[in-house]
């Protein structure tokens, strides 16, 4: 077998801190071959980004690589001089970062930045370099490249910027591409575009790719092999099929089980107790021991990363001994979570009619008078006791919808009624019945207030609770959300993200609300904490008879939580119906594309899927297209779509869609041959027992 492009052995990187050295990367070893995509998966803080930076010797000071070897095409990178290292960066290895919005220099044109990537490695005439840059942009699908090359980064959307960055990374035909969370900051349909680009690039150039991500769906979609990181170590490594089908490390198993899978019907998600260890003070023995359902006495000794079955390694005594990992006994939830009812109760709690909301952009001088069309005619009922999921990408107006429902914003036109009354009217007694759970738990808590004060704030407005009553109420509320009484005296910065979010939930419950708008409540949490919070929300709904308006961009989570789903695009509802139906058989082209764009964390299903990849970017909410707002990206757009706005009509009982062509989507649904997938993963040795992929 030919030499791997990248071979890492026992890499160890540390950061000095006040409390002692923080070992971000603790002796990891892996290899990536030409044409192969290796996924490095883990939650935040596990050390994967530091690994990427270490390979390029760009660890942010004061961190440093303390031991190990890194071989690039056989050369030991750690022994090179800084000048030689500079020659490698951007030429033999390219690194693409997470946040495209900040990764380009705002003061230099993208053309200049692209050409720099070429010119630091070879002497080229300017015109030649410019031509190569334009070609690279065109290869990445950027329209009008010859003109846009002289633009500054702020004129490009997030997806476009990421394409520019990828183009920049590929300019010098590197043998290895490291992509650190390349799509995390992007919308799902844009993510699909970028993943396709990476897939094609890796295949056509026989380039080794190290893909770093926390998203198991992305892994299933793009990678051939996967390594799972936890607390600075690799705890499992296998082909992608094997990892998902039969994980051998309890952490991997836990991760997979805590994902809400869009196609399954589940009451609740399995959660992993506890939190990852402190990176400055690792526990002795296996680092996952405290959270592990399988832990035994032997786990007090640190396990090695060894093969459990051929080419499938795991760092676990149990699986090494048994050559398998059992399904853990289901821990039954303390409270029986009622099955989310499919049938919808009759009485509407919230009624929105033809709501529009426009915001004017003021302040920025040259564009005074510009107006953002956030909501463009929304009519919706939310039934008492149900969970209405609102799903859409950034800019679709879902957050605005939530806030209008609560009376935080007034609609520009149209009406909002909650329980027959206007939520924006301060004189009604509605205030405490309408509450919100926010996206960013850190920002939603006043850093200067203790938890007890935060949680009882809604009650202070009514007339202060005194002394013992207040303390009792605090204890009650904290218990409802699963926090101990000891938390009452802490400050927000002393809590984890999941705990902060629970405090926010407790605050929302303080006034006995009827309607709670949950605005992306788990987006900023790690996968393991997400599951806990989602279970909690479901549990509370059953116990307290709450109605939820659940806003999210994540289809699987929305499917898990909701009775019905509304899909939004550019301020309009394009589809509405029961949750399972909307996601299993969507009616609207955008819903189809959205569903297709979400990578399923199951490689067998992911590989055979039809992909509908939308062209271009979402139009700006400053200037809406005429007619159907989706027509600029719709593969089926016809002339009528530009003239007539399709109304939201009931095509089947309780199923609404806003499109002229519902029911005639056969072309759209014809599966594009998954050519890339099967051809890109020839590896007979790894799959002796695999059935033929359909």
């Amino acid at each position: 077998m030919s030499q791997p492009v990248l071979q890492v052995e026992e890499l160890r990187t540390q950061f000095p801190t006040e409390r002692g050295p923080l070992t971000a990367v603790d002796g990891i070893s892996f290899a990536v071959a030409a044409g192969e995509v290796l996924g490095l998966v883990g939650e935040s803080g596990c050390g994967k980004s530091v690994t990427a930076r270490s390979i390029l010797r760009l660890v942010p000071p004061p961190g440093r690589i303390v031991s190990g070897q890194i071989f690039l095409q056989g050369r030991n990178v750690l022994e090179l001089s800084e000048a030689e290292m500079r020659g490698i960066r951007g030429a033999d290895i390219s690194l693409i970062f997470q946040n495209p919005m900040t990764s380009l220099n705002p003061a230099l044109t993208i053309g200049w930045q692209l050409q720099e990537a070429l010119l630091v490695h070879q002497r080229l005439p300017r015109a030649h370099a410019r031509r190569r840059a334009v070609e690279a942009l065109q290869a990445m699908g950027i329209p009008d490249a010859a003109r846009r090359i002289d633009d500054y980064p702020h004129r490009f959307s997030g997806g476009m910027r990421q394409r520019v960055l990828i183009a920049m990374g590929l300019l010098n035909e590197p043998g290895l591409l490291i992509a650190d969370e390349p799509t995390t900051a992007l919308d799902v349909t844009i993510q699909a575009q970028i993943l396709e680009l990476l897939r094609v690039a890796s295949r056509e150039r026989r380039m080794a790719v190290l893909l770093i991500t926390h998203d198991l769906g992305v892994v299933a979609s793009l990678c051939r092999r996967v390594a799972v990181m936890y607390a600075g170590q690799i705890v499992e490594e296998a082909t992608v099929d094997e990892l998902f089908a039969t994980p051998f490390h309890p952490y991997t198993q836990g991760l997979l089980r805590s994902l809400p899978r869009g196609h399954e019907d589940r009451d609740h998600l399995t959660t992993m107790p506890g939190l990852p260890p402190d990176m400055t003070d690792f526990p002795s023995g296996c680092r996952f021991r405290q959270r592990c359902a399988f832990a035994e006495a032997v786990c007090e000794k640190p396990p090695e990363l060894l093969e459990v079955t051929p080419r499938h390694r795991a760092r676990c005594w149990i699986s090494q001994r048994d050559r398998r990992l059992a399904q853990p006994r289901e821990v039954l939830p303390a409270v029986r979570v009622a099955r989310t009812p499919e049938s919808v109760p009759r009485a509407p709690l919230v009624e929105l009619r033809d709501v529009t909301k426009r915001f004017s952009l003021s302040g920025s001088l040259p564009r005074r008078g510009a107006v953002v069309h956030s909501l463009n005619g929304v009519s919706l009922d939310v039934m008492a006791g149900e969970t209405l999921g609102v799903v859409g990408e950034s800019g679709c107006g879902k957050s605005t919808l939530g806030r209008i429902t609560l009376g935080l914003y007034r609609p520009t036109t149209g009406t909002v009624r909650v329980d027959g009354r206007d939520p924006g009217d301060r004189t009604t007694a509605l205030r405490h019945q309408l509450q919100m759970i926010f996206q960013d738990p850190w920002s939603s808590l006043d850093p200067r207030m203790r938890v007890a004060a935060v949680v009882t704030e809604p009650l202070r407005a009514r007339g202060a609770l005194q002394g013992r009553d207040a303390r009792d109420r605090v204890r009650e509320l904290l218990a409802l959300v699963g926090l101990s009484e000891a938390m009452a005296d802490r400050y927000p910065h002393e809590l984890s993200g999941g705990q902060q979010q629970r405090v926010g939930i407790a605050r929302a419950l303080a006034g006995d609300p009827r309607l709670i708008v949950a605005d992306e409540p788990v987006s900023s949490l790690d996968v393991s904490q997400q599951a806990q919070v989602l279970n909690l929300l479901k549990d509370l709904q059953a116990r307290l008879g709450l109605t939820y308006l659940f806003i999210s961009h994540d289809l699987s989570i929305v499917r898990f939580m909701s009775t019905r789903i509304a899909v939004m695009y550019l301020g309009k509802i394009v589809e509405l119906g029961p949750a399972r139906a909307v996601l299993a058989e969507p009616l609207h082209p955008y819903s189809i594309a959205l569903r297709s764009a979400v990578p399923i964390p199951d490689p067998r299903r992911e590989s055979g899927r039809a992909r509908v990849i939308l062209r271009g970017d979402v139009p700006s909410p400053l200037e809406l297209p005429s007619g159907c707002l989706f027509r600029t990206r719709c593969p089926l757009a016809q002339e009528i779509c530009a003239r007539v706005v399709p109304p939201l009509t009931e095509h089947e009982p309780s199923r609404w869609a806003a499109c002229h062509f519902v029911g005639s989507f056969d072309e759209m649904l014809r599966p594009t041959p998954p050519a890339g997938r099967a051809a890109g993963r020839p590896d007979p040795v790894a799959r002796p027992h695999q059935p033929e992929t359909p």
Partner: protein, 314 residues
């Protein structure tokens, strides 16, 4: 872009109008009015008093007086100084060039000294040289212009003979002597301001060096000089330039005291004298002139800003 400039100009004009009114009004509050000063020790009957007041237009309501002043002002007539008897416009014309030269030279010097020092301090931020410069900047920044001026005069008289030209020589007479006479005054203003600019340059450069796009550049294999002097500096210069608007404001304060120390017949000095003499028209005109310089400096910064910072362009 044209629209933007026009908007800023209009805003500036509005500000000046308000400033003129403010100063005019403040001027009327000065106790011991003009007439008393004019009459002086001679004394006058109350009737003569009233006559004089009427002749000078001082008994009309405030707004009328202001409008009257404004109408002549836009025609270029800022009134006559009742103290000297000369036209205020001429007086201003006499004082203004000196202040202007002082201001411009000091500003240029402060930038030419400040930016390189700041860049040096940033590039060597964690080394002894950089730390030493940083501490030095604190000290220099804390020296008020008049202290610097006095100390420089002292040093000049005692040690710097040839460099020090005690009295002012206008540029129209002799350029070399003029510049020599301006060295110490401009330095006394420029040095504390240079320290301010240096601190800002250092901080802005360090901040730019901490941004994500720098890591992108490093990952491309870009050499250090590209990173510091192109990637980071381009971004760092923006706040440095916008700071100069504020610097100019400080500078004007420095002008007033420096003209005093070095006996330069600039606007600042004239203003001080006029306040003492209750010379309204000059006080109003002089203040307005200085405020206009300040507004102009800020206008230039406002116009430069979109040129320097691409994200601010349409």
């Amino acid at each position: 872009m044209i629209r933007y400039v026009a908007q800023r100009l209009a805003a500036g004009a509005g500000v000046l109008l308000a400033v003129s009114f403010l100063t005019f009004w403040l001027g009327t509050l000065i106790p011991g009015d003009l007439v008393t000063v004019l009459v002086g020790s001679e004394g006058a009957t109350s009737e003569q008093y009233r006559d004089l007041r009427h002749k000078l237009g001082l008994d009309a309501p405030l707004l009328t007086q202001y409008v009257r002043w404004l109408r002549s002002a836009v025609r270029g007539d800022l009134g006559k100084s009742p103290i000297t008897g000369r036209y205020v416009t001429d007086e201003i014309a006499r004082h203004f060039p000196i202040s202007l030269e002082l201001a411009l030279l000091s500003l240029v010097e402060s930038i030419l000294i400040g930016v390189p020092v700041g860049v040096f301090a940033a590039v060597r931020a964690n080394r002894p040289a950089g730390l030493a410069v940083r501490s030095a900047l604190f000290v220099v920044f804390s020296v008020p212009p008049f202290v610097a001026g006095v100390l420089l005069v002292l040093a000049g008289a005692l040690y710097l003979g040839p460099l020090y030209q005690a009295s002012y020589v206008p540029m129209t007479e002799n350029v070399v002597l003029n510049l020599r006479s301006m060295i110490l005054p401009t330095l006394s203003i420029a040095i504390p301001l240079a320290a301010m600019t240096a601190q800002m340059s250092r901080a802005a450069l360090l901040e730019a060096l901490g941004e994500a796009y720098i890591v992108t550049a490093l990952a491309k294999g870009a050499p250090r000089r590209n990173i510091v002097y192109i990637h980071a500096l381009k971004n760092a210069l923006v706040p440095v330039i916008t700071l100069q608007g504020y610097v100019f404001g400080s500078l004007i304060g420095g002008l007033i005291v420096t003209e005093q120390i070095f006996n330069l017949e600039g606007l600042g000095r004239g203003l001080l004298v006029a306040i003492g003499q209750r010379d309204y028209p000059f006080v109003v005109a002089g203040t307005l002139m200085i405020a206009a310089m300040f507004v102009l400096a800020n206008l230039i910064v406002d116009i430069l800003y979109p040129i320097l910072d691409p994200t601010q362009r349409t």
